[in-house]
């Protein structure tokens, strides 16, 4: 179970958000650009340090004191795939697997599952620097999931991708979150993407504060603010 209270002061914005998430559940953070969604995720991941608050995952205090990045049991995916260009695709995907697990049969099967489901077989030995943007997103997703983290944080990971690929990646993520059992927090400013990815619940952020939380149907039927009404309205 994840329990979070993040306070982070920025020049023009003070983010102050609390959230709770049961194991295996998913949560969408929705709002306009600059509402503080990415800041919340970055603070949970440890990329940024909150000014105040706490982060607890499965009764382990991640902050404060700030647990080093490499000890945080989570996966973090952003718009930037961040592949290691000096390694091949397969080496990227296996990058975070500890040596003692690299020969483990179950681990190998899981890697093969990721490879096949994300259609990465033909790219396996290609240099990571030579693949396309869409392929790189698939590789970074596989790399994050290869370690089977209990919590997955997604910061607009599908921005700029074609709709077909986005649908496939979302379906894969939802499928694995149910089969593997990881919790998921996703950020996006497109309601339809977020709703498909995190169908259970969402928190709406405006100017760093949560203005509404609950099921998607409630957000659509009773939007708490005019801005939210406008964001949810069809184009």
């Amino acid at each position: 179970m994840l329990k979070v209270h993040i306070v982070k002061k920025r020049r023009e914005l003070e983010v102050d958000v609390s959230l709770e998430l049961e194991a295996g559940q998913s949560l969408g953070l929705f709002g306009a650009s600059g509402a503080g969604k990415s800041t919340v995720l970055a603070c949970i991941a440890g990329i940024e340090e909150p000014d105040d608050g706490f982060v607890k995952l499965n009764n382990v205090q991640i902050f404060p004191p700030s647990l080093p990045l490499h000890q945080r049991p989570l996966g973090y995916l952003t718009q930037e795939p961040g592949l290691f260009p000096h390694l091949r695709v397969g080496e990227n995907i296996r990058f975070g697997i500890p040596k003692e697990l690299s020969a483990d049969a179950e681990q190998s099967r899981w890697i093969e599952t990721l490879r096949d489901r994300l259609q990465l077989g033909p790219l396996w030995n290609a240099p990571a620097s030579s693949i396309s943007g869409g392929q790189a997103r698939r590789v970074s997703l596989a790399r994050m999931l290869a370690r089977r983290p209990p919590l997955v944080l997604l910061d607009e990971p599908f921005a700029g991708l074609d709709r077909q690929l986005v649908r496939e990646l979302i379906d894969d993520l939802v499928f694995w979150s149910q089969t593997v059992g990881f919790s998921m927090i996703a950020v996006d400013h497109q309601a339809e993407v977020l709703k498909r990815l995190c169908p259970q619940q969402a928190i709406v952020l405006e100017e760093g504060k949560a203005v509404q939380r609950g099921a998607w149907c409630d957000l659509y039927s009773n939007p708490a603010t005019p801005l939210l009404r406008s964001l949810l309205a069809p184009i």
């Binding site: 990045l69 490499h70 000096h86 990058f95």
Partner: protein, 262 residues
């Protein structure tokens, strides 16, 4: 007039100008074919000259090992510093770079000689820091360290921070991130930094001639030959000097430029 012709015309002039500039830069090398009479390579010239080649290659190699082993972690630390602290370290590194070589040599002799605290302490253990191999190596370390560390900081800076954070989030401890991500991605930049330090150290004359006249490296031996025998005795050693000092750094720079534009 057709604009593309005008464009090509301007391009031609620019290329011609650049060619003249390049020829002017390379012009000093034509002195290798100057008519100064037969080159002198008699035994009294050859012996010390070959000894100086050995001294330069061996001791500059030692200096590079020290520079790399000490300078790389220092550069990695500076690359992670906030701007204010980084400026302080960079200002310190600039001191040996900006000191006139002769002044640096005199300061090193005084600081590490029998009058300096460190020099007198080392002498108790039989380590003499003037006119010795230790003096030669330490002078080269002082001469080259600033160049290497500043270049290495730039090489580490060029590695995208997101990759290092991703590696950490994939469970790698900081030293593993450095070993598996930062170092491989900055190795060409480090090689460029080392090649600059190499050229600077192996070619150093002003500081070395004060701290370590003996054992003589190539620059000092060139000076000795010039003083004792004249230009014909300098030329063979000069060719060797250019052959060992230039090709490797030149190749590293060409490779780095190619990689940058790939």
């Amino acid at each position: 007039m057709n604009p593309s012709i005008l464009h090509n015309d301007r391009r031609w002039w620019a290329r011609a100008g650049a060619t003249v500039f390049a020829l002017a830069l390379l012009y000093p090398l034509t002195a290798l074919f100057a008519h100064i009479g037969p080159w002198q390579w008699s035994e009294d010239v050859r012996g010390p000259a070959l000894a100086s080649v050995r001294v330069s290659l061996l001791l500059t190699g030692c200096a590079m090992v020290i520079i790399m082993s000490v300078g790389t972690p220092i550069a990695a630390y500076i690359a992670r510093c906030r701007m204010t602290e980084r400026l302080v370290w960079q200002a310190v590194l600039l001191v040996p770079i900006l000191l006139p070589p002769l002044a640096l040599g005199i300061l090193l002799t005084l600081a590490f000689g029998p009058y300096g605290a460190v020099g007198s302490y080392l002498e108790r253990f039989g380590i003499v820091m003037t006119n010795s191999r230790a003096a030669f190596v330490s002078t080269q370390v002082y001469v080259g360290m600033g160049y290497y560390v500043l270049g290495a900081v730039a090489a580490f800076d060029a590695v995208p921070g997101i990759l290092q954070k991703q590696a950490a989030l994939l469970g790698l401890a900081p030293w593993k991130v450095f070993w598996r991500v930062t170092l491989p991605l900055s190795r060409l930049g480090l090689a460029v930094a080392l090649s600059i330090a190499w050229v600077r150290a192996i070619g150093e004359f002003g500081a070395v001639v004060v701290t370590a006249y003996y054992p003589s490296g190539m620059p000092v031996q060139l000076w000795v030959n010039l003083q004792s025998f004249g230009l014909p005795a300098v030329m063979p050693l000069l060719v060797v000097f250019l052959a060992v000092a230039l090709p490797l750094p030149w190749l590293v720079h060409v490779l780095a430029q190619r990689r940058r534009h790939a």
